[in-house]
């Protein structure tokens, strides 16, 4: 059997990190392809429900990335997001979900290399945590 590879849900802000992912591609930077990208207008658009939905659907890890604080296209979206994620992270830790499964970063559209490096870091960290087994909604079984 081949080695287990993690599935990671990545939510990127349209204006910064999505641009950084594009730039990394244009620069032909190599990084593993364990993640599926979801593009949103702003990290402030991301509800903790969405992150939980990813875990419930069996994601081994979630990675959220957006503009640096102060650089938000909508001026202050990521400041609100930062507080929300702080609370979410605290509660996930409190219920015993491995901290290595949830990652956050600020990557601007000019930081292609940082995107590739962070992607490697996130994937390595989720690999260490192993396959997810908590909070996964199993489908009804026909017997």
């Amino acid at each position: 059997m081949s080695e287990w590879e993690p599935k990671i849900v990545t939510i990127l802000c349209n204006w910064c990190t999505y641009g950084a992912a594009d730039l990394a591609g244009v620069n032909r930077l190599q990084y593993p392809t364990n993640f599926k990208v979801i593009r949103v207008p702003c990290t402030g658009r991301i509800s903790p429900k969405m992150i939980l939905a990813a875990f419930r659907s069996g994601a081994d890890g979630v990675w959220i990335s957006g503009c640096h604080p102060g650089d938000c296209h909508y001026i202050e979206g990521n400041f609100y997001a930062r507080r929300r994620f702080t609370m979410l992270k605290a509660l996930l830790k409190h219920v015993g979900i491995d901290e290595r499964r949830l990652h956050f970063s600020w990557i601007s559209a000019a930081e292609g290399p940082k995107f590739a490096a962070t992607a490697k870091e996130v994937i390595a960290s989720v690999k260490q945590a192993g396959p997810a087994h908590q909070l996964i909604k199993t489908k009804a079984q026909v017997i």
């Binding site: 939980l52 400041f79 219920v95 970063s105 909070l135």
Partner: protein, 316 residues
């Protein structure tokens, strides 16, 4: 806290006759011991039905949401904080409220009393200040209130209402430092696996009656996330993952809004310590942002404002 009843009746009668308020929200005696009913009085003649004792544990702030008239309401420390949060969140205007503040020394945890007596039927429970008399079977015991306080009242940091129009009774001393709940403190030294096991064990017996949600004055969304179907965030069945998700998100929605009034825990028919999750968030809001909900009507709720130098450690 004894002796409040007369003053409350007098105040309610006065406010209603002078037409300062259109209705008055308080408690009346329930038909079983240790359960008082919330009541909305609009006729001054009926103000004599109002009572107050250590069993008035439901959160009255629930009943002001969306009201259009002027409301008189009784508020202990936690209820006053809930009212302030509701004002901050534009659920009611401060001018619509006439708050009668009641310094509170804590409510009796009825499940502890019922547990003590087991199968013996409790006939009546009378509040006598520091003690309370329980008539059960054919004898009467006098019990110390301190031994039977609700878990949230034991660690209460704001016994006295912070926002009020008039106050009844003498102020109660608050603890000097913030007290962290025992189970939250214990969880900090546990491993991830142990915490998960505890979370699963504690919350999986839940039958999803949503009593905790309905008892909470901060849960007023017209459509709760559990009822949404497109997308469906939480399944409707009694699947364990759905139950855990419900509790997780319910707590998260109360981040920076919960005042630890304990209404959720009291409403639970199977005594799940549902405050386990909200207490963690309250502790974090205090530790990370120095924030406690409902202390200042001019302040925005925790997640509705930000500072440039907020905690940023965990961002790469």
């Amino acid at each position: 806290m004894t002796g409040y009843t007369e003053k409350i009746r007098e105040a309610a009668k006065r406010l209603l006759t002078e037409k300062k308020v259109d209705c008055f929200i308080g408690f009346r005696k329930g038909s079983v011991p240790m359960v008082n009913y919330p009541v909305i009085v609009s006729d001054p003649a009926k103000a004599d039905e109002l009572i107050w004792d250590a069993n008035c544990a439901m959160n009255l702030a629930n009943y002001v949401i969306g009201r259009k008239d002027k409301v008189g309401i009784l508020a202990t420390g936690c209820v006053a904080r809930n009212l302030v949060t509701l004002v901050q969140e534009n659920q009611i205007k401060r001018e619509q409220l006439y708050i009668i503040g009641l310094p509170c020394s804590g409510m009796i945890d009825k499940s502890q009393v019922i547990d003590k007596y087991g199968d013996v039927e409790i006939v009546s429970v009378i509040d006598k200040g520091d003690t309370f008399a329980v008539e059960a079977g054919d004898k009467t015991d006098v019990l110390k209130k301190a031994d039977f306080l609700s878990r949230n009242c034991k660690i209460c940091a704001h016994h006295n209402p912070i926002e009020y129009d008039e106050i009844i009774g003498d102020k109660v001393a608050d603890p000097e430092t913030y007290i962290k709940p025992e189970d939250v403190k214990k969880s900090e030294s546990m491993s991830d696996a142990e915490r998960w096991e505890f979370f699963e064990k504690t919350f999986s017996p839940c039958i999803r009656c949503y009593a905790c949600r309905n008892a909470c004055p901060m849960c007023y969304c017209p459509t709760c996330f559990v009822d949404e179907s497109r997308p469906q965030w939480v399944g409707k069945s009694s699947d364990e993952t759905d139950t855990l998700t419900f509790h997780f998100l319910r707590a998260l929605h109360l981040a920076g809004r919960c005042t630890d009034c304990g209404a959720c825990e009291r409403a639970c028919p199977i005594d799940i310590p549902v405050r386990y999750l909200t207490s963690r968030l309250n502790a974090d809001a205090k530790e990370i942002y120095g924030f406690e909900s409902g202390l200042d009507p001019k302040m925005r709720p925790l997640l509705d404002h930000y500072k440039l130098d907020d905690l940023n450690d965990f961002f790469k």
